[in-house]
């Protein structure tokens, strides 16, 4: 086998890994869409906000330091302590739960029965709000996030696959962080599935996803469910924020991962958790392979920006509800 072939395999594997990262974000979208029918554009910004909060708490930053300094003329920056990662995680999670409660109280409650596009626009407004709020609270500079996940190439995989090739092949290069992300995503999905299958709340979640009115009529509180769902989505956003944040630093561009997750979403179907995973893998592999085989040699590169959308579009023309979405039945 030639080195080029092995390089292709490596691109394939890396595509799978980045696909997992996309799925992590898409998962949050699916959870909220299933339970409340809201297409939550703010999911990416939620990941950014969660990561910002985590870094801020961890390093003992004073919230709103810039604002306080600007208004009162003081110069406060840090509390002067560092919070252990585990407690910082808990605090960040608590903030995301609080966020879920506030969103339900101030936004969703008032928008019941509105058209989907109005709800969608409201989440874009929410995304703007959170973006500005996060920057005001923690500052806009790029921050380094370290929660103790090792990074860099995985030597063990590299060494144990080196025998495959001949000259000029030193084994597959895989980032350890990506491997961790894959494992964590697998745990996350399994626990979400178990949660929705075997707990009382999970059953209520599925009931709401099935039919809002029927769920209401058997005594399930829609508002409580929405808070729970947004809190879970906040938790997923935190996980995604940690993974993406440790990979490329916590900064504004983190919120743009929402745009990476959208094609995953329409490919897999808005309402399917397995769809989010499979869609993520297809998109991840597809765009890496396309860039490797066609994009970089023939089209001048940087095709990753749009290829995912085109791929999803192709799939949609044949299956308008996505790969795993519910069949769309329309009646007059």
């Amino acid at each position: 086998m030639s080195a080029g072939f092995y390089f292709g395999v490596e691109v394939f594997l890396n595509g799978l890994m980045s696909g997992v990262m996309y799925s992590l974000v898409a998962l949050g979208f699916v959870l909220i869409f299933k339970a409340s029918g809201v297409f939550n554009y703010a999911q990416g910004v939620m990941a950014l906000f969660a990561a910002l909060t985590l870094v801020g708490v961890q390093s003992g930053q004073v919230p709103f330091a810039h604002l306080i300094n600007a208004v009162f003329g003081t110069n406060v920056q840090h509390f002067g302590w560092e919070v252990p990662t585990f407690f910082a995680l808990l605090i960040a999670l608590a903030v995301m739960v609080l966020f879920a409660v506030l969103v339900e109280k101030f936004v969703l409650k008032h928008l019941v029965n509105q058209e989907p596009i109005i709800l969608f626009m409201a989440t874009i407004g929410l995304a703007y709000f959170m973006e500005g709020f996060g920057d005001l609270m923690w500052g806009a500079e790029i921050k380094k996030l370290d929660v103790g996940i090792p990074q860099g190439g995985n030597l063990w995989i590299e060494e144990s696959t080196a025998f495959l090739g001949g000259d000029g092949f030193y084994g597959f290069y895989l980032d350890t962080l990506d491997i961790y992300a894959t494992v964590i995503a697998a745990i996350l999905v399994t626990s979400l599935v178990l949660f929705s299958k075997y707990t009382k709340t999970g059953r209520a979640l599925r009931a709401v996803a099935d039919d809002h009115q029927a769920a209401l009529s058997v005594g399930i509180s829609l508002r409580a469910i929405w808070v729970i769902v947004w809190a879970i989505a906040g938790f997923v956003a935190l996980v995604a924020g940690i993974m993406w944040g440790s990979k490329s630093g916590v900064q504004f561009s983190l919120s743009l991962i929402a745009l990476k997750a959208l094609p995953v979403l329409i490919l897999g179907g808005f309402t399917s958790i397995p769809g989010a995973i499979v869609g993520g893998l297809i998109i991840g592999v597809g765009e890496k392979m396309f860039e490797f085989l066609i994009g970089a040699p023939f089209l001048g590169g940087a095709t990753e920006n749009w290829f995912a959308y085109m791929l999803a579009l192709m799939f949609l023309v044949f299956r308008p509800q996505g790969l795993f979405g519910e069949k769309i039945i329309e009646r007059v």
């Binding site: 407004g125 703007y128 500005g132 920057d135 329409i266 590169g301 940087a302 999803a312």
Partner: protein, 358 residues
């Protein structure tokens, strides 16, 4: 009391069918036109033209275009930034290839080219609906921006990858480039905005517009009563893209003068236009103007207050702007999901009854 329709009698069909059947509306319309065409040009200066009036008019054209697609035909599109880029690059290529061509023709041709591109990207709408379509239109946004970045032919192989509008005249007046007088550029954009708004208003009252609305309200039912979904959807995409293309062309040639595609026509522009349409009011031409005015004026106002009056650092003010604009959008949607146009309707109703409660 103040807004009366009593005593307004029509005696023939032409009067009955006119755009503003109520005399007061008509007078308001004529008054606005006289102020816009005959008064404003004499008082306009550089700041007002470049910070407020030009962007307002250009965004209003684009908002009308998007409103035709989203508000009248019910197809949500997030690709409008990409279509504006098509308009801009089309006019750049036309201006540099045919230096003697009149700017009016350049702008209209750019619109037509955008209409063709838009219709091509509208094809999936026949299969895909709702949010799936909204996300699918993002494909056009990213693909077009990438295309204009990568293919050097579009920016005439310039080293910076930017496009710059060369100086052109209309009727002997300089219209593009740094030497253009604010009054001239303003009138040029105003003429396009008024003409296109008039066209849109009449199109939405015509056979075509009613077909779009039938598709919006329920496409299967519309198909059963004999509306051809292919024709209706594609024509909505084409007409909407024509407007957006004209806006993109004006934005590049008259307003900005130099454009870097990812910066000027990125995804944020698509969202901005969608905000204008939603805040103004879906399915309303007046709403498109109101929404554009709101989204253009509000940040200017906010910046003046925060930076000018309170003296805050610009970066904090910028963050605050995000918070306030985002919060305002949410509040707006909660208070009045049908936009400024609906508020205007309520105000008219109140004015009609005032000072009596019923």
């Amino acid at each position: 009391m103040f807004y009366r329709e009593a005593g307004d009698f029509t005696t023939n069909y032409a009067e009955d069918n006119q755009t503003f059947p109520i005399r007061l509306d008509r007078m308001g319309y004529y008054a606005t036109m006289i102020v816009a065409f005959c008064v404003v040009p004499f008082f306009i200066n550089d700041y007002w033209a470049s910070a407020v009036l030009l962007p307002f008019l250009i965004y209003a054209i684009a908002a009308i275009g998007l409103n035709i697609l989203v508000g009248y035909c019910g197809q949500v599109s997030l690709g409008s930034g990409g279509f504006m880029a098509v308009g801009a690059y089309a006019s750049y290529k036309l201006m540099t290839s045919f230096p003697d061509m009149s700017m009016i023709i350049v702008v209209l041709l750019s619109g037509l080219i955008t209409a063709m591109v838009g219709a091509a990207f509208g094809l999936p709408s026949l299969r895909i609906k709702g949010f799936y379509l909204a996300v699918a239109t993002l494909a056009s946004q990213f693909f077009l921006v990438w295309l204009f970045n990568k293919v050097a032919w579009f920016y005439n192989y310039s080293a910076s990858g930017q496009i710059n509008a060369p100086e052109r005249t209309v009727l002997g007046f300089v219209i593009t480039g740094p030497n253009a007088a604010p009054a001239v550029t303003y009138l040029f954009c105003l003429a396009f905005a008024v003409g296109l708004a008039w066209l849109a208003r009449n199109m939405t009252r015509s056979n075509t517009g009613r077909r779009w609305m039938a598709i919006r309200d329920m496409d299967i039912a519309a198909e059963i009563i004999g509306v051809n979904p292919l024709g209706a959807k594609l024509s909505a995409f084409a007409v909407s893209s024509f407007y957006i293309g004209v806006a993109g062309s004006l934005m590049f040639t008259v307003y900005l003068g130099a454009v870097e595609v990812g910066e000027a026509f990125g995804i944020t522009k698509s969202f901005l236009l969608l905000f204008m349409v939603i805040i103004g009011g879906l399915g309303s031409i007046f709403g498109s103007f109101a929404g554009a005015a709101f989204m253009v004026l509000f940040p200017v106002l906010l910046k003046n207050v925060l930076v000018g009056q309170l003296g805050w650092a610009t970066n904090i003010a910028a963050h605050f702007e995000f918070v306030i604009v985002g919060g305002l959008i949410v509040i707006f949607l909660i208070m009045e999901p049908h936009g400024l146009a609906a508020i205007w309707r309520v105000v008219k109703e109140k004015l009609r009854l005032w000072p009596f409660p019923h």
